[in-house]
């Protein structure tokens, strides 16, 4: 038996292909949405992996430093170095802000690190790591900063000495690494007028400016002029130690919150990305419904355009299942064209997105199955209409 669907497609292939391309663009958007979600999850995992930490020590009763703000004293790391199983510990700060370069602003996560410590970017694609204590920066290539360029964070200028890749925040903002001291200052540094205003307020406070206690005011102002806090301490544990075992005494004796890699991944992927995932999921559902409606409409319209031929086919003895198969095969063919086009366009435009879009083969395979199911469901309406056609319609009224 000849393939009626195939012949029909071949006869009007251009119309069919153009329709498939239109559907493919919609499917491409669907794949991209799934890729955006995958990219967010991957960004979160990359953030954890790139930090090089086994444990995150943060302020008690917080889920910092990525999901909530966390503030701990910057000398805590010394205590941690003395805890059993701790190999290395390093302070780190995170601050999402606008970083200026020339006339443009780049939204970035500024990370304060200590050279050669946990938290430092694991690899560079150009330049070198930070070696000086101040005013050097390593930037992710997504910032589009170049080696040797000067960038401005708050009031200070930094020279880009290295470039790294895939170092992004959980929100997808590229990271800019600067020395820890600079980052601590950047977090709390006020403008000159604000500093003058703060000093006047302190001096006007009779409790802090007692006539009989010389030096008290100066000591208070000195304590206000630097920031002794960091957001977290990244801990690397010694070989052979279980992260949970190392975390337990820190929690108990240092009264801090400690997260293992698995717990931090849960916070980032399950909690932090959850709302975005639901948002994207909603989009995917809507796009699936729209795609189904479009395929159903296209197939229904194509079938209605062949009513007389279907009546003739039925009159000359064509079985209903042959006619149903013709319509379903056309719907599936349309879906396959749409899937191929969608996959290609999603692959082409994925790198153009400002945030990371990760297209994984598993999603493509699932997408293919969904597309085929959608096409089969969408063809049912047209099949129903075709099977209702009376063969008598082929004979003149």
């Amino acid at each position: 038996m000849i393939s009626l669907a195939g012949r029909d497609i071949l006869k009007s292939w251009s119309k069919f292909v153009f329709t498939g391309v239109g559907l493919g663009l919609l499917i491409g958007v669907t794949f991209s949405m799934a890729g955006v979600y995958r990219g967010m999850v991957d960004d979160a995992k990359a953030l954890l992996t790139n930090s090089g930490a086994d444990l995150w020590v943060v302020q008690k009763d917080t889920q910092g430093p990525y999901a909530e703000s966390s503030s701990i004293y910057d000398d805590v790391y010394r205590d941690l170095l003395g805890m059993p199983g701790v190999a290395r510990a390093a302070n780190i700060t995170y601050l999402t802000m606008q970083v200026r370069q020339g006339q443009r602003d780049v939204r970035a996560m500024v990370v304060g690190i200590l050279p050669d410590s946990p938290g430092e970017p694991g690899y560079l694609v150009a330049g070198r790591q930070i070696t000086r204590s101040h005013y050097e920066a390593v930037a992710d290539v997504a910032t589009k900063f170049k080696l040797g360029e000067h960038i401005k964070i708050r009031r200070n200028e930094y020279t880009v000495v290295g470039l790294t890749r895939r170092m992004v925040s959980s929100g997808g903002d590229p990271m800019v690494f600067i020395p820890l001291r600079d980052a601590q200052e950047a977090q709390f540094l006020k403008d000159n007028d604000a500093i003058v205003g703060q000093r006047q307020r302190t001096a006007a406070n009779p409790a802090l400016n007692r006539p009989g206690v010389p030096g008290l005011l100066d000591a208070v102002i000195e304590s206000q002029s630097h920031n002794p806090y960091v957001n977290a301490v990244l801990v690397q544990i010694k070989q052979g130690f279980n992260p949970e075992e190392v975390a337990a005494p820190i929690k108990r004796w240092k009264h801090l919150q400690v997260f293992t890699r698995a717990q931090m991944e849960e916070i980032l992927v399950v909690k932090l990305v959850a709302t975005s995932a639901r948002q994207i999921g909603m989009f995917l559902v809507i796009l699936t419904i729209v795609s189904t409606a479009i395929v159903a409409f296209i197939i229904y319209t194509m079938t209605m355009g062949k009513i007389r031929e279907i009546a003739v086919l039925k009159l000359i003895g064509t079985r209903n299942r042959t006619i149903a198969a013709m319509i379903m095969q056309q719907a599936i063919a349309l879906g396959i064209i749409g899937f191929v086009v969608g996959k290609i366009v999603a692959t082409i435009w994925a790198p153009m997105f400002p945030k990371y879009v990760l297209l994984i083969p598993g999603d493509a395979a699932r997408g293919f199955i969904v597309v085929v199911i959608i096409c089969i469901l969408a063809s049912l309406l047209a099949i129903r209409a075709a099977l209702k056609v009376d063969p008598a319609e082929a004979i003149g009224a």
Binding site: V312, L313, L315, I316, G317, T318, A394, G396, A397
Partner: protein, 236 residues
């Protein structure tokens, strides 16, 4: 009762019931022998299309009897279970417009019928090509319907109707869209094919130019048929 051909006796068709009932066919009696072409003539609304649909087994008559060859098709109820197979194997259709399947070429339009009957693609295409040669259309075997003239399309439609060698062919105004010359040619072909394949052909028409071509003409008026001898110029 003829051994071959179609025999209709007291066929009626009523639409609706009670006061609103309409008798589209009241008492139709026809007999068309194998190899014969008869005309079925009547004004609009006389019941021509209803009769054709009943003969084509696409609507069920209300009463009467219908046989094709020695097979009882209808006797106050369908006697054949698979009407689709009946239409496919025993009744050929030629329509006012050719209604060829636009996405199949000429050969496959004809070969589709034997394929539906279960024959292999190769055998079906060979049969189709044989039909095309008989109709002097072999040179257009690979053409698509849209590439054919109206007369050529109608010849392909005739080939499609006859390819399964059905005992009956029903032709519904087959010459309506054609000029006189082509219309007469179509009727001539139908006559030749009817004799060659021993097929009973009923041609519904009110085309004045072809009415004289029939040897026998059935007139239908208000759902009742009566027979008249014709001139039989092309088909006799």
């Amino acid at each position: 009762m003829p051994v071959k051909g179609i025999h209709i006796e007291g066929l009626s068709k009523r639409y609706g019931s009670g006061d609103t009932a309409v008798d589209a066919l009241k008492d139709v009696n026809m007999e068309v022998a194998a190899g014969e072409v008869v005309g079925l003539v009547g004004p609009s609304g006389s019941g021509k299309s209803t009769l054709l649909k009943a003969l084509g087994a696409v609507i069920e008559p209300s009463a009467g009897r219908m046989t094709i060859g020695d097979t009882i098709i209808y006797d106050n109820g369908w006697k054949i279970k698979d009407l689709r197979a009946l239409r496919r194997d025993s009744i050929g259709f030629v329509f006012q417009a050719p209604y060829l399947i636009p996405f199949l070429d000429v050969t496959d339009n004809i070969a589709l019928l034997p394929m539906l009957a279960g024959q292999s693609n190769g055998e079906s295409r060979q049969q189709a090509l044989a039909m095309l040669q008989a109709l002097d259309m072999a040179h257009r075997a690979k053409a698509m319907p849209a590439q054919l003239s109206g007369g050529e399309q109608q010849r392909v439609a005739i080939a499609r109707a006859l390819v399964n060698r059905p005992p009956v062919v029903l032709a519904d105004e087959p010459t309506a869209p054609l000029d006189s010359e082509r219309a007469l040619a179509v009727i001539r072909i139908l006559g030749q094919m009817a004799q060659q394949y021993e097929t009973a052909v009923i041609v519904v028409t009110h085309d004045e130019k072809i009415i004289p071509t029939f040897k026998r003409i059935y007139h239908i008026r208000d759902g009742v048929t009566y027979e008249e001898a014709g001139e039989g110029r092309e088909t006799g």
